[in-house]
């Protein structure tokens, strides 16, 4: 079972699927997960009495974990199992040990009790355990789990809310039975939730595939607020961040000295903002330390600047404080990244998983996400575009929509100029990637040595352009584009038979890098709108006649693909194709069209052109 606390953090951790999904062990099956949660009032925090019942069906991995954060403590732990005589027996103390719960963060301060269940008797072992979880911070009561990887049959929750407090919750569209009601008592109100999931969460096979797994809804989001925040739950969340989580350190002289050197006496807010943003995003190493309230509270901005390391909230806070110092209208904002399972549409701590800085310039919002070292000033980062953020201020904050980077700015183009060399095609190639389409290249450039960078680009190109080798690749970079030029050779693509020549097109690059196949119900995040164009000119060096080729066109559910191969002059064949998609993720309901188009592209780019020598 996982802790209630969904870590609020970082783009890197956030882009990964919830780490607990990967830590989960499928050899165990839970029949029941039940919690009675009591809100401590007027004291802060809450107490949860947890009861779990389940069974193992194999002899492998006979362990269950109770994970808790630095804000939580576990007490009154009892664990029992059914022995071969069908009697419950207490789990021995020596079979319970405490260790850290590793996640994707650099440090999360989480611990877990590991219950090691005995191997005796039948591989099937029934067990139950119960414990009391105390948490000091009420705001972290933000989720109730209603589906999990262990395929728990039933989840039951009673949330006891005392008079003087209010509970708001958001139920997801849910496959299964979900029952909610409430009972009034003399002490307040008890909310009952009972969920029996029918849709199973399927896991990606590899951690790298996290962007394409089945997002079966697994949580109810909630927030408990004092009565004074009736109908103003967003304000409560805002004030928590703005108050409790906002330690104002103030920039010290050493920091100001660094920042002055960065700003270089600029007075225009745009110039100041872009200089500081570029400095922070390129000079700060991403290190996410998220223990306890440290998961939400930024560290001292002076420390972050001096040590050149921090996570999303640290960088957002540093940017915000630095920009405010130079008179720029800047705020911190909570956001939900594209890969996060919830949107920023409900005032719960679980809704967001990221923090950025926003700047108001000429009546427009500029989104500064310094965790993405290749995020361009003036554009949202690839992780948050198309989502929403909640801006934190001292007036209750506000929700702001984040636009997508338009596809015209993300254009990727590839031009090949080839001539026949024996059975092969060889010549020059140039790739030009604009906007977010250059993200991978910039990321590599940022993180690798120059030699490794070019080697990695070679590998990327050779993976997309099938059966093609590249050489002498050189890179040029401008503010808006990253381009590569070099030579390419596609071996054994030409043939001559019966006086006819054939050109096998199966060396042409597939027009996108996303999975060609996936399980039904999968959503795919592209992280960018797509406008990918390809052109291949084959100069035969003699007069020819190309056998006409049917153009191909596809336009459905936002996907567009066009292909044509034609004779553009007496000696030249030009093959051009393009692929566009004006969104940053492909929801499950559109994947049918997406896969249909993939199959069409595969077919189209595997055809052979036929030409004859012209008389």
């Amino acid at each position: 079972m996982i802790s209630k606390l969904i870590y609020f953090c970082s783009v890197l951790a956030a882009t990964a699927a919830p780490s607990t999904l990967f830590a989960a062990d499928q050899s165990v099956h839970y029949n029941l997960h039940k919690e009675v949660i009591t809100i401590n009032y007027p004291e802060a925090g809450y107490t949860s009495s947890v009861y779990c019942r389940g069974k193992f069906s194999t002899l492998e991995n006979r362990e269950t974990d109770i994970v808790y954060t630095e804000l939580e403590s576990i007490g009154e732990l009892t664990a029992r199992y059914l022995n071969s005589g069908r009697k419950y027996k207490d789990l021995k103390e020596e079979n319970v040990h405490n260790t850290s719960a590793m996640g994707t963060s650099f440090y999360n301060g989480m611990n877990k009790y590991v219950l090691s269940w005995p191997f005796k008797g039948n591989p099937e072992l029934h067990f139950l355990y119960a414990y009391k979880l105390n948490c000091k911070e009420l705001m972290t009561l933000s989720t109730l789990m209603i589906n999990d990887i262990q395929h728990t049959d039933t989840f039951e929750y009673d949330v006891r809310v005392p008079k003087g407090m209010l509970l708001y919750f958001r139920i997801p569209a849910y496959a299964g039975s979900l029952h909610t009601d409430s009972t009034e008592t003399s002490e307040g109100k008890i909310y009952h939730f009972r969920a029996c999931p029918s849709e199973k969460i399927t896991l990606p096979k590899e951690l790298e595939d996290y962007e394409s797994y089945n997002y079966a809804p697994r949580i109810i989001r909630l927030i408990v607020v004092p009565l004074s925040y009736r109908a103003k739950a967003w304000a409560c969340l805002n004030n928590w961040f703005n108050g409790t989580m906002n330690e104002n350190h103030g920039l010290n002289p050493a920091s100001l000295q660094i920042l002055d050197a960065v700003v270089k006496k600029a007075s225009d807010p745009d110039t100041i903002a872009s200089r500081i943003f570029n400095y922070v995003k390129t000079r700060t190493t991403y290190i996410d330390v998220e223990n306890g309230l440290g998961a939400f509270r930024p560290r001292d901005e002076n420390d972050v600047l001096l040590k050149r390391q921090g996570d999303c909230k640290d960088m957002a806070n540093l940017l915000c404080e630095a920009l405010k110092h130079y008179g720029v209208d800047a705020y911190k904002a909570i956001s939900s990244t594209l890969s996060h399972e919830c949107k920023m549409d409900f005032p719960s701590l679980a809704s967001g998983n990221h923090m950025i800085c926003v700047v108001r310039q000429r009546d427009k919002w500029i989104f500064l996400d310094a965790t993405d070292p290749v995020c361009m000033y003036g554009f949202p980062s690839m992780h948050i575009q198309g989502t929403g953020i909640y801006r934190i201020d001292d007036k209750g904050g506000e929700w702001i929509a984040v636009p997508k980077v338009p596809l015209t700015l993300n254009r990727s183009s590839c031009e090949m100029n080839l001539v026949p060399v024996e059975y092969s095609l060889a010549g020059s190639v140039s790739y030009c990637w604009h906007g977010l389409s250059r993200h991978d290249a910039l990321q590599l450039k940022f993180s690798e040595s120059p030699a490794d960078f070019i080697l990695s680009i070679h590998k990327i190109l050779e993976n997309t352009a099938r059966n093609t080798s590249f050489s002498t690749l050189t890179e040029t970079e401008t503010d808006s584009a990253t381009c590569f030029k070099g030579d390419m050779k596609a071996a054994n693509k030409l043939a001559l038979f019966d006086g006819k020549h054939s050109v096998d097109l199966n060396f042409l690059p597939f027009p996108h890098k996303y999975p060609k196949k996936a399980n039904p119900g999968t959503r795919i995040i592209t992280y960018q709108t797509l406008d990918n164009r390809f052109s291949c000119r084959i100069s035969t060096g003699k007069k020819i006649k190309l056998k006409p080729v049917e153009p191909v066109s596809f336009d459905k559910d936002g996907f567009r693909f066009d292909f044509k191969a034609e004779q553009t002059n007496e000696q030249t064949i030009t093959v051009s194709y393009s692929y566009s998609y004006n969104d940053v993720l492909i929801p499950a309901e559109k994947t049918k069209s997406y896969f249909e188009l993939n199959a069409l592209i595969e077919y189209t780019l595997n055809q052979m052109l036929i030409y004859t020598d012209a008389l």
Binding site: T99, M102, N506
Partner: protein
């Protein structure tokens, strides 16, 4: 070149450089303070440079020299991610004189100075994880960044995060892990790290490379200090320089220094023991004053055996199991289950009995990962379910030989990727694998015990042992001298993969049906056979995996069924499978009577691992082999192959060969023949790119199309 150095209490007294002496005196003082004042917080000392260590006044954190010393490095290194300016390791074994023989501990002090040269260097070299196993304690840990102007940014103790991790399979729970990120690092900065670990363990054996794993190292030193009276043996390999030796206050101090060491990168299929200078040392004897402890069981095995005879004697004493209870249960189980199996066979000779017994255990007994105590708790359940922990296998076979009253040998073998077996340097760490052997009718037979990780058939040589030397210790006459034994080299004739793909192409129906038959033999078939020892359930899993793999392959063919046709248990261990596929859309018409059939995804050779880039060490392929793939295209009409020239290739590059040809076998059948052969047993760094070229040739074939013309 190999040089040996045996040290005793009366060893030579080469003088140690002054700085070194100072360093050790300082370290000794510190440790003495620590021992006499257990309540003292953190030990402190100051590093003026790598070689000089001086005691300092105590405070809560490690105290560095006031100003960082920034070192310039040559431009030639600037393409590296980082280089080590210096790496110094001081290893001290000490004892408390007041409590001789009881209070012994080892201190390992490491001081690293690293220059960061690229963003990748920042990413990979400044986030540090230090695991600390429960037998040791990290007493001091500190790090700092030195800027080019000499200013420093210190790591705060609060930024060192302590975690506990469990090592998988229940090997150890709650291992301390210290994690921190060095603050304020930019390209061109230097980072300095010091770690002092102390342990009650003796570390009676070690193999020491002075190289860094990842970076070029300008200066590296390793210093060992042991109390006088320890008898040690040290052996240097690959021109490792002879050390300086000195005696300082009852300690014998040995120091090796080397400059300009290339990184001991973990390049695939390399053998660092052939490439870099290194030394091995073993503690053979501890002082007489410790004799009380020496009789203690733990200490007895803590020092290294001085001879193979001593090694054999120890083995006889432990016999694989620590628990008498378990030993008794195993004996009973053996008597109940296996005795009958051995005794009531219908007049087989001894060899047949052994192979049958081996086959039975190999096929029916499953090795599981549990601790000895856990196993002991439920031993009857496990034995009933034919589950044993790995160390019990030894007992089973030991018992078998005893039953058969047959002399046998314990073989010690060494994985060739960890260097050669040095028979002259006796240590319990010499071997990486053990095996059993016996002589029968003037023939020597051997087998490896079935285990969790290696499941070899009777007489089969594990891949990593082909051509290596091993030694044999007689189990019945331990006084007899050890024998040398060389495993046969695994040859190409035995190691092959043959795949036949049959495509039935119906041009009119526009349909292709596919059937594959694949045979693998020798080393090539090992991986397949690993999945199959545990009975039908595993077989199904294996076949399901095979189908899944085929589904994910980009051939466009959807697999339908698979079965195992042959699984031989004797040399050359042939393993054959058959796969059937759903019919798929047919050949593409490219002109009036012209069709193209894609062989994309059908030619899939098992190629040598190759990651590109510059290589600095010799590459040792795991074995030589031949991978032959034949694709038969059978049409429902008379056809003529039109692009035979395009489907022709012959590449030779020393490492191996690749050949492709297309032949019209008859009027309706065309055969593509693709051969990938590995001939080299080693590849020099300069020839490494040839592996890439060889693989590229094989890869090119994977995208071909066969063009045919339908005859009238």
């Amino acid at each position: 070149m190999i040089s040996t150095l045996s040290a005793t209490a009366a060893a030579d007294s080469e003088s140690l450089c002054l700085a070194q002496k100072k360093a050790f005196r300082a370290l000794k003082n510190l440790f003495r303070i620590r021992m006499l004042n257990p309540g003292l917080g953190v030990i402190l000392f100051c590093l003026a440079n790598a070689a000089t260590v001086a005691a300092q006044v105590s405070s809560r954190e490690f105290k560095w020299a006031e100003k960082g010393k920034y070192d310039a490095v040559a431009d030639t290194f600037h393409s590296e991610d980082a280089i080590l300016v210096s790496k110094d390791v001081y290893f001290t074994v000490e004892m408390n004189a007041a409590n001789a023989g009881k209070d012994v501990h080892s201190n390992i002090f490491t001081h690293l100075k690293l220059k960061i040269l690229t963003p990748a260097g920042i990413r990979t070299r400044t986030q540090i994880n230090i695991p600390n196993y429960t037998s040791s304690e990290i007493r001091t840990l500190d790090a700092r960044t030195i800027k080019p102007d000499g200013t420093v940014i210190d790591l705060n103790a609060a930024d060192i995060h302590e975690m506990k991790v469990d090592i998988p399979n229940g090997e150890q729970n709650g291992v301390q892990l210290l994690r921190f990120s060095i603050p304020g690092v930019e390209i061109g900065d230097e980072v300095e790290i010091v770690i002092l670990q102390t342990t009650k363990r003796l570390y009676s054996y070690d193999e020491v490379f002075l190289n860094d794993e990842a970076s070029f190292c300008l200066h590296s030193s390793y210093t060992k200090s042991l109390p006088l009276g320890f008898v040690t043996e040290t052996k240097c390999y690959n021109n490792m320089p002879r050390p300086r030796i000195d005696t300082i206050k009852g300690q014998r101090v040995i120091c090796w220094r080397v400059s300009n060491l290339p990184p001991k990168r973990a390049e695939e299929l390399c053998v660092p023991e052939y490439e870099f200078p290194f030394m091995r040392y073993a503690v053979r004897k501890i002082p007489y004053t410790w004799s009380g402890t020496q009789r203690d069981y733990q200490y007895d095995i803590a020092v290294e055996p001085a001879s193979w005879l001593e090694y054999a004697k120890r083995l006889n004493r432990t016999n694989g199991l620590n628990s008498d209870f378990l030993q008794a249960r195993i004996t009973k189980h053996f008597n109940d289950q296996f005795d009958n199996y051995l005794t009531y066979s219908r007049n087989p000779d001894t060899l047949q009995r052994i192979t049958r017994f081996f086959t039975y255990v190999h096929d029916h007994i499953h090795v599981i990962d549990v601790s000895e105590s856990e196993y002991e708790n439920s031993v009857d359940y496990y034995l009933k379910n034919n589950q044993v922990m790995e160390s019990l296998m030894f007992s089973f076979f030991d018992r078998m030989f005893k039953e058969l009253k047959l002399n046998y040998f314990l073989g010690l073998a060494k994985n060739r990727y960890t260097g050669e077996f040095d028979k002259e340097f006796v240590t319990i760490h010499s071997s990486t694998q053990e095996f059993m052997g016996f002589e029968f009718k003037n023939h020597f037979y051997y087998f490896f015990l079935p285990g969790k990780k290696h499941i070899y058939e009777f007489g089969e040589v594990p891949i990593e042992l082909g051509g290596t030397d091993a030694i044999l210790i007689s189990r019945n006459n331990i006084e007899s001298p050890v024998r040398k034994f060389t495993f046969p080299v695994s040859d190409k004739q035995r190691n092959f993969s043959k795949t036949n793909v049959f495509l039935n192409i119906e041009l009119k129906k526009k349909s292709i049906t596919r059937k594959d038959r694949q045979s693998r033999s020798g080393c090539v078939s090992t991986n397949e056979r690993f999945g199959l020892i545990s009975g039908s359930e595993k077989n199904e899993e294996f076949l399901a995996d095979m189908l899944r793999d085929e589904k994910e392959n980009n051939s466009g063919y959807v697999p339908d069924s698979a079965k195992i046709v042959v699984a031989e248990k004797t040399n050359p261990f042939l393993f054959t499978t058959e796969k059937n596929f759903h019919p798929k859309e047919g050949a593409r018409q490219i002109d009036n009577n012209m069709y193209a059939v894609s062989v994309s995804g059908l030619i899939r050779h098992t190629v040598l691992p190759y990651s590109g880039g510059k290589r600095t060490t010799v590459y040792y392929p795991r074995f030589c082999y031949s991978d032959v793939q034949k694709i038969y295209l059978v049409f429902d009409a008379k056809v003529e192959l039109m692009n035979a020239d395009q489907l022709k290739n012959a590449w030779t590059g020393g490492v191996g060969t690749y050949a492709l040809s297309a032949t019209q076998i008859n009027e309706t059948t065309i055969m593509l023949d693709s051969n990938y052969d590995v001939n080299a047993t080693s590849v020099l760094p300069a020839d490494y790119p040839k592996i890439g070229e060889l693989n590229a040739e094989a890869l090119k074939a994977a995208s071909l199309q066969v063009v045919v013309k339908v005859k009238d």
